[in-house]
């Protein structure tokens, strides 16, 4: 098994140290994105040729420490300790050496080969810093390589040194932090108890059992030690804490910080100027007590405005493209089942969804801009008081904001919340942050019933309604579950995002969206087409399928199903066709548009022309719908069960099908109640 190719190197580092851009430069597009088993901490891996070997690089989640208090830290620690990792690159923000070497000290302590990437070295030097790199290497006992992650400088050097370190060709097992006399005694005493039973580094195991007791041993090694062992170790800890007058955590943390700041002090020939004053100046305005909130709201408003106005033109172009393709296909393919499938099923269905790609891309462009500049953390800072009132956390706002793009990454983003309670509440209100997939449905319906000039306002009111609803639900849920977790977070320095990282981010989203269109939505479109075509169609000559009248449609599978659930929707005034559309919307919200397109196109006299303006006309002409019902329908679509992809991710994140079941029942009943109340109230008033 021990091929030259089997070298795996992990990248660790603090959040905001430029690790991701460094990683992107190393692996380029050759990365595989997945999840760590059991938890949805994103796991990135990519293999690349370095010198004479193929090396796999693993991007660990950004952490400040390796304590077992958060999922990220837990995942990073397990990965670092796993046998397959032969070396760890610790990415360090050179402008904040002490803080970053603190994490390095913990990774060095695992006894594995470590390479330090002195990242952002340009920023450090430009602000007047001078660092004695050979001396830093000598003090820490590991190779140190200066890098500039966002411009790819020093990467080749780093990779080649890492390979040598992994193979043991250069010394890379670092010098360990030493603690107080009493602490060292305690470490030795614990070492005597555990003997050679730990599969991990001896000293590292002793220190961690002292720090976290049995809770550290959530790894596979918990059962290696007996109750008696833990009892004796607890005794050692108690004696030590009594002797030192402080807890072991304090002893170890100060020891590690002492190690980090000692190394930094010895090697910094010239301190760079403290914290770029630009960040201070921007913060003086952006997080200002009086200006902060108005600026935040202005940014949010401009973001949505730009998403829709800039997106309008390309959306139209794509619409025309699909319209023409449909027209062309309907002429080339001989009339019949195949023609109907391609034109009414596939082109109308997939096209209706792909059309909105520009809006989605713009939204993710702005979100990644907010993330990469460092403003996202400020948004959390500004919103924390409000969020706290709702029983949430300032950080909850970030996943909720991402929820405007797509609920799936938003639910995954809740992992930045440390407390499970706040995480669960956030997950359960995120679906009300109207996602990008619902947008095409609003555009269709609002355009049809409120005209071009009012459509924007109507859509904005839906977003607002969703936000208000999420706040109300959060408040109710937080009453039911008391206690809140602390808010402590770093506000990273402002940085100008590199086009590369923003483009990569958008590309990932674009690809995800198109892949969804090509798989789930394609399948759903074909399925819906099948449901609205059979069995009624089979009774006739194949060529006559186009002449499916609404009466015929009622006898199809879709019609029967729609009829089945019609009683539930009757009080809202929705007929079976809406029922079918809502049901298929469960696959993905955009599918509602394509289903309506397919149903109405099939039911219509002349097929093949299923672009939006036509569909809007047909919907407007439908006597069973009016503006009030259309708005009620949009409210229903806003609130009711999130798509299947969301439920999948919810099952993993929340941990169990019962949460999925709860989500389905609660969102759908809420949608019914809200929609019903709105329609009845509006009809009463009008």
């Amino acid at each position: 098994m021990n091929h030259k190719d089997d070298i795996v190197i992990a990248l660790a580092g603090n959040p905001n140290c430029g690790k991701t851009s460094l990683y992107n430069f190393i692996t380029g597009s050759r990365q595989h994105v997945g999840n760590y088993p059991g938890v949805t901490v994103e796991r990135k891996e990519g293999s690349i040729a370095v010198d004479d070997a193929i090396v796999t690089f693993v991007d660990l989640p950004g952490t400040y420490s390796l304590s077992p208090f958060s999922i990220e830290e837990y995942v990073a620690r397990n990965e670092i300790l796993s046998d397959r990792i032969s070396a760890i690159i610790v990415v360090v923000d050179t402008t904040r050496l002490e803080r970053n070497l603190y994490l390095a000290s913990q990774i060095i302590e695992t006894g594995k080969p470590v390479i330090i990437a002195l990242n952002m070295f340009d920023e450090f030097e430009e602000s007047g810093g001078i660092l004695d790199i050979p001396q830093l290497s000598a003090i820490l006992g590991v190779p140190c390589v200066p890098t500039i992650g966002n411009r790819g400088k020093g990467i080749l050097d780093l990779m080649s040194v890492s390979l040598k370190a992994a193979r043991g060709e250069v010394p890379a097992v670092g010098k360990l932090p030493r603690y107080s006399h009493e602490m060292e005694h305690a470490i030795d005493a614990v070492g005597e108890i555990i003997g050679s039973r730990s599969p991990y580094d001896f000293r590292w195991t002793s220190i961690n059992i002292l720090l976290y007791g049995a809770s550290f041993c959530d790894l596979s090694i918990k059962t290696i030690f007996t109750e008696d062992d833990y009892r004796r170790i607890d005794e050692i800890r108690n004696n030590l804490e009594l002797l030192e007058g402080r807890v072991v955590k304090s002893i170890v943390t100060s020891g590690r910080y002492g190690y980090a700041s000692g190394a930094a002090a010895e090697c910094l020939r010239e301190r760079h100027k403290l914290l770029s004053t630009t960040t201070d100046k921007i913060d003086a305005v952006v997080t200002n007590r009086w200006l902060g909130l108005p600026i935040f709201l202005l940014i949010l408003w401009s973001m949505f405005q730009a998403t829709f106005t800039l997106g309008e033109y390309p959306v139209k172009l794509i619409g025309i493209f699909f319209h023409q393709t449909g027209f062309l296909a309907s002429r080339i393919i001989p009339a019949g089942l195949v023609n109907s499938l391609v034109v009414d099923g596939i082109i109308a269905g997939v096209g209706g969804v792909v059309m909105f790609l520009p809006n989605i891309l713009l939204l993710f462009f702005f979100i990644s801009l907010m993330e990469d500049t460092g403003y996202m953390a400020r948004a959390a800072f500004i919103m924390d008081r409000v969020m706290h009132f709702l029983g949430l956390h300032g950080k909850s706002f970030m996943p909720m904001l991402v929820g405007f793009g797509c609920t799936v990454p938003a639910i995954m983003a809740t992992r930045i919340l440390e407390s499970r309670r706040e995480r669960m509440i956030t997950m359960f209100v995120i679906p009300f942050m109207s996602c990008g997939a619902r947008l095409p449905v609003y555009i269709l319906l609002a355009g049809a019933f409120f005209g071009r000039e009012h459509a924007g306002t109507v859509i904005f009111s839906l977003y607002l309604a969703g936000m208000v609803l999420s706040f109300v639900i959060a408040k109710i849920l937080s009453f039911m579950t008391k206690t809140s977790s602390p808010f402590v977070m770093e506000l990273p320095p402002y940085r100008i995002p590199t086009p590369r990282s923003v483009l990569l981010h958008i590309w990932e989203r674009a690809w995800m969206y198109l892949r969804k269109a090509g798989t789930i939505i394609l399948a759903a479109s074909i399925f819906v087409w099948f449901l609205v075509t059979f069995p009624a169609g089979t009774k006739q000559e194949i060529g006559d399928i186009h002449e499916n009248t609404p009466a015929n449609l009622e006898s199809t599978y879709a019609g029967s199903f729609g009829k089945l659930i019609e009683p539930a929707l009757k009080p809202l005034g929705f007929d079976w066709r809406i029922g079918v559309a809502l049901t298929t919307g469960f696959a993905a919200k955009e599918v509602i548009v394509s289903t309506l397109g397919t149903i109405y196109a099939v039911g219509d006299e002349h097929t093949g022309e299923s672009d939006n303006s036509n569909l809007q006309k047909v919907l407007r002409d439908d006597p069973s719908l009016d503006p009030i019902k259309a708005y009620g329908l949009m409210l229903f679509i806003l609130i009711y069960v999130p798509c299947i992809a969301v439920l999948g991710v919810l099952k993993r994140e929340a941990g169990g099908w019962k949460w999925v079941g709860l989500m389905i029942v609660y969102t759908t009943s809420l949608a019914w109640i809200v929609s019903f109340s709105f329609i009845k109230a509006a009809e009463l008033l009008m």
Binding site: S67, T287, I382, F487
Partner: protein, 108 residues
């Protein structure tokens, strides 16, 4: 180092008592396990110098600066961090700030 006993701690100055622009040195972090670890991992340990920067729009949380990094924390957490307030006379210019660091590394 000078250590507070718990009686004294009750009346001690905490980060929450600082006004924007004021500085202090952390004496003790009195928090529960998880949060204490988080605060310490961010560099808020005994001996760290911190500066109060500002309050958020609704007065809470607050923004502080420590080890060349901006950190946001709620006032509830800020009250858990006992400091030795350096007072206004210590809110020094950049030049003196750098000098202090220079002296520190010479001492080593």
């Amino acid at each position: 180092m000078f250590r507070h006993d718990h009686m004294a701690v009750r009346h001690a100055t905490t980060i929450d008592d600082l006004r924007p622009g004021e500085k202090g040195v952390i004496v003790q972090v009195m928090a529960d396990d998880g949060i204490k670890q988080r605060l310490m991992d961010l560099g808020l340990i005994e001996g760290t110098e911190i500066e109060m920067i500002r309050h958020a729009p609704f007065g809470d949380p607050i923004q502080i600066k420590a080890l060349n990094t901006h950190i946001a924390l709620r006032r509830r957490e800020a009250r858990m961090i006992v400091i030795d307030a350096a007072g206004e006379e210590h809110s020094e210019s950049q030049g003196r700030y750098r000098h202090r660091f220079g002296r520190k590394s010479q001492l080593r």
